[in-house]
Structures are given as C-alpha cells and as structure tokens.
C-alpha cells in the first residue's frame, strides 16, 4: 500500500527559481535561502519518495479567469514547463503519476470532493520554483509528481478549513492506493506578502513565525481563521498559506516538524518547513 512519509511547506516566489537558474548559491544575498533548503534536499535524497503530491496555485498562467478552477488535479504522465512571459525555464518537463492521480480523482469525487481534472497542461512557478531547490533535476527529475491546484487568486477562495479537509481527503486517497509507493505531500505559497495597492510590500515576521509554529502544533487554530484574517496578518498573497493547510491535512496527528528556515530578503517572506512521519 502507498504510505505518506512526510510533508514539506515552502514558499514558491519566482525569484527562488531565478536564484537557482542563475546559480546564486554562493551569492551572500541568496546563500541563506539555499542553505535553508539543504536539510530538505538531504532528507529527500535519503528517503527517496516515489511521488510528491503538490498543493500549489497557478498564477493565471495555465488557467485563466474565463474558467478558473477552485481545485484541479493533474492526471498526466508529463507536464510541460509553462511560459510565463520569458519562455519556459531551462528544466525538463515534470513527470506525473497517472495511475495514482486517477485513483486520487476517483477517491476524492466518490467522497464528494468534486475536484476538476486536467491533463497535458503546463505548470508554472507555483509548482516548480521550490521543486528545483529540494529535488533538482540532475539531469532529470528524481521522481514523479501529482499536482493539485488550488484557487488563491480570485475570491471567493476555498476556505482554510476546506483546504485542510482537502488534505485529509487526499491522505485517505493516497493511503488506499494498492501499490507500494512512498509519497511526500507538499504545500506551497506564502508566507507574508502583498502585491497590490499602497499596502504592497507588506510583511509580518511575527505572524510568519507564529504560523510556522501553529502549522506544526495546532493546525486546527489555523482552520478557524478567515481569509480576511490571513490577509490582515500576512497580506493579500499571504492567503496562499491555505495550501500549507492542505499539506498539513494530509499528514497524521503524529507528524512532527524536523526543520524550518525563514528568510525575508525583499517582498515575500521565504520559508521552508519539513515534516516527518514516525516510521
């Protein structure tokens, strides 16, 4: 049977991809970011998961507002790298796991989580900007992904509680998959940032650190907050943190956070946290 061996929460700011693509590992402005991902990279290299289930958001790249999905699950064998205005990043297409993804679609829909399903669509930085930091293609990706898109762009957004419940439903789906697969769940986005209006550039380090504590010790408290709370505390784009809640919902009660890093160089707070399930 498939098992979930851990989880990763991570920011997905496009400059993370830029720093990787331009090999900024040794640049003092970027070194603290790269260093923060090292324990995650090492853990993944040791534990060798087969699949990463990726709760991420599209940035009006693959999906447009003529039909913007609240939740969408990718079921392809391959996903091209999206062109976001400068041409695709120089990394290989992402590899999917269609059999697991199809099983997840059935499991979710049959327990009334009516997600939409996509295939053969490109994925943007919301998915692969953090991915290259901890699962670098050398030269190809070390494993497969199942992308789960969440609308955090166009209000009304799914509630924080709903995102947590999505994670729980994904957990049941993965654990009922008959093949022996090691799965890690990933939630991307945040932490505090705002990219519109005179309040743009807003950050809240105190809230960010509190969030990093609560996502480990008391995710229930985070599900009781409204989007207005997230936006007031962490900026309009800080609301992306609900994707971390989906990741956390897919982990067990016994999971524990074994690593975190926080770096706020410019406009968005960049954080990564690693959760491990007891063996």
């Amino acid at each position: 049977m498939a098992t979930i061996i851990g989880g990763i929460g991570t920011s997905h700011v496009p400059t993370i991809a830029m720093a990787y693509d331009r090999k900024k590992q040794g640049d003092p402005d970027w070194a603290p970011l790269f260093k923060g991902y090292e324990p995650v990279t090492k853990w993944l290299a040791e534990r060798k998961p087969d699949v990463l289930v990726f709760f991420y958001n599209d940035h009006a790249t693959t999906f447009f507002f003529d039909h913007y999905p609240t939740f969408a699950l990718g079921v392809s064998a391959e996903y091209p790298i999206a062109d976001e205005g400068l041409g695709p990043r120089p990394v290989p297409p992402l590899k999917g796991h269609p059999a697991l993804a199809r099983h997840m679609a059935e499991s979710l829909v049959n327990e009334e989580f009516d997600i939409s399903v996509f295939q053969d669509l490109p994925l943007d930085h919301g998915c692969h900007s953090p991915l290259t930091m901890f699962w670098p293609p050398a030269p190809d990706w070390p494993g497969k992904i199942v992308p789960v898109e969440i609308n955090v762009l166009q209000h009304p957004l799914p509630t924080p509680l709903r995102c947590y419940k999505l994670g729980q439903a994904v957990r049941r789906a993965v654990l009922s998959y008959p093949e022996d697969l090691k799965v890690v769940v990933v939630g991307t986005g945040g932490l505090s940032h705002q990219l519109n209006g005179e309040r743009a550039g807003f950050n809240n380090e105190e809230w960010d650190l509190k969030f990093l504590e609560l996502i480990d010790s008391d995710p229930g408290a985070l599900t009781k907050m409204t989007h207005a709370d997230y936006i007031r505390l962490g900026g309009t784009e800080g609301a992306e943190e609900v994707m971390w809640l989906a990741m956390r919902g897919a982990l067990s009660e016994k999971t524990r956070k074994v690593h975190q890093n926080y770096y706020l160089p410019m406009t968005a707070a960049m954080a990564v946290a690693l959760f491990e399930e007891p063996a």
């Binding site: 496009p14 400059t15 720093a19 402005d29 970027w30 940035h59 009006a60 790249t61 447009f64 507002f65 003529d66 999206a82 062109d83 976001e84 205005g85 400068l86 041409g87 762009l153 166009q154 209000h155 009304p156 957004l157 509630t159 705002q194 990219l195 519109n196 209006g197 005179e198 309040r199 743009a200 550039g201 409204t226 989007h227 207005a228 936006i231 007031r232 309009t236 706020l264 160089p265 410019m266 406009t267």
Partner: protein, 119 residues
C-alpha cells in the same frame, strides 16, 4: 458580502481580486494573459497598437498598458499575476511594480528591504 472577507474593507491600500473586479478586467486580463504565447508576445513587441486592436481593448485600457500605469491597472481590475506577464515582456521587475503601487521610487522601496540586492 463574503463572510470570509468580513472586515477587509477597513484595510487601506488593498485591492482584492474578486469576481466583480475579475468581470470588469476580463478583456484586459485576457490580453495580458495572452502574452504567455510567443506569437501574441511578438505582435505586442513589434506593433503594440495592432495587439491592442486584436484584443479589442478600450481606449483607457490601451493607455494604461502603453504607459505601464501599474497603479491605474491594478485599481481598474487587472490581476497582478496577469500584470506580471506584461512586466516580464517589458523587462520590469516585481520590486519596480511594488514600488510603483506604493508611490515610491525603486530606490526608496529598496531602502525599506532587508536585502536590497536579492532581486
């Protein structure tokens, strides 16, 4: 009123991208989103007025895009993430857009940041 957004109206300097704004900005956002396609991008670079015409943009929409009036665009109903596509094509960075939203120069904005070189 969406109960999830109760109290948001008291937050100054924030333009929430909701269905009303999305509806108003749809034509403009479709044009901006189109810049992810090489052919549309090439047309916009070579002949912006022809690209505006093809997209059926209104005069005010054309002006905002032509002048890269980020503040007006976001107030009007552009999605930041669609504006990002325009910014990439025009060689404008996110910190430059953010400083424009704040009514600051890039230099002023960078002075408020922890690591001004990280961009």
């Amino acid at each position: 009123m969406n109960p999830q957004l109760k109290g948001i109206e008291t937050l100054a300097g924030t333009y929430l991208f909701d269905l009303e704004r999305s509806g108003r900005g749809l034509r403009l956002n479709r044009f901006l989103h189109g810049l992810t396609r090489p052919a549309k991008r090439a047309l916009f670079k070579e002949d912006p007025e022809a690209a505006f015409e093809e997209a059926g943009l209104a005069a005010g929409e054309r002006r905002m895009v032509r002048e890269l009036d980020w503040v007006a665009l976001i107030r009007y109903g552009a999605s930041f993430f669609c504006l990002e596509k325009l910014a990439r094509v025009k060689g404008v960075s996110n910190p430059e857009m953010v400083s424009a939203f704040r009514g600051e120069t890039l230099e002023q904005f960078l002075k408020t940041r922890n690591v001004p070189g990280a961009r």
